[in-house]
Amino acid sequence: MARMKFLADAERCIECNGCVTACKQEHEIPWGVNRRRVVTLNDGVPGEKSISVACMHCSDAPCMAVCPVDCFYKTSEGVVLHDKDLCIGCGYCFYACPFGAPQFPQDGAFGLRGKMDKCTFCAGGPETDHSAAEYKKYGRNRLAEGKLPACAEMCATKALLGGDSDIISDIYRNRVLRRGKGSEVWGWGTAYGKPESRPAAKPGAKS
């Protein structure tokens, strides 16, 4: 089994936030914590691009390197996880992460910073699989159910792919070869079809 990865296709993302909602619902994420979010570049300008961002489960994860209590570990599938029982909420991982993945719940009168929370690739944590403790701390463990992350499986346009990096790379490669890269990707021609390029219907043939 190769490494588990996410792949976000900016050409397909329609900024519906379905992935964000799926993640929130699946793991009952508290208010103020966003394990996944959609970032839009040139918002409102024709040709704007949106991309769904969460923990990218880096092969050489900087969060793991800077953690002073070494609470991070990587599973055999390449998923970067952490032990919340060890986390001291220092926030070093937040500064190290290039994607802004680590989240810190704030609670109480003084906005006390809690233990770090991040995308688990729906793989739970170091608690017993499918236990109440695992669900409470890390959310649902879909990987142990033979399923992929809820965000990727929920994505309506399949802009967000998640899973075995070799397979999702192949899917994306084939997709790019089919759709091209120029003016045919978006615009009037794509939205309303290209009648001039359709083959002429044969007389008597079913439409």
Binding site: L86, A123, P126, D129, A152, E153, D164
Partner: protein, 78 residues
């Protein structure tokens, strides 16, 4: 007369050579060792009962279902 000159030349050479001894200024992080609880493999639970191949088949099927171009053409395998 010659000795101070020699000393000066030697000092200048040492200064020039010191410029070659530049050390890298990019921080190299060293990975720590995980200190927490061990995690079980995703196939080591009641659902798969330790059958890694069954888990891999399940994940592969889910992976391939993300490709809409192959989803519409069922084969003998799926």
């Amino acid at each position: 007369m010659k000795r101070p000159l020699l000393l000066m030349v030697a000092g200048a050479l040492a200064l020039v050579a010191a410029g070659c001894g530049e050390s890298p200024s990019v921080t190299v992080y060293k990975q720590g060792k995980y200190q927490g609880k061990p995690d079980a493999e995703p196939w080591g639970n009641d659902a798969f009962k330790g059958d890694k191949l069954a888990w891999e088949r399940a994940i592969k099927a889910r992976n391939e279902r993300q490709d809409e171009t192959s989803r519409g053409t069922p084969t003998a395998a799926n």
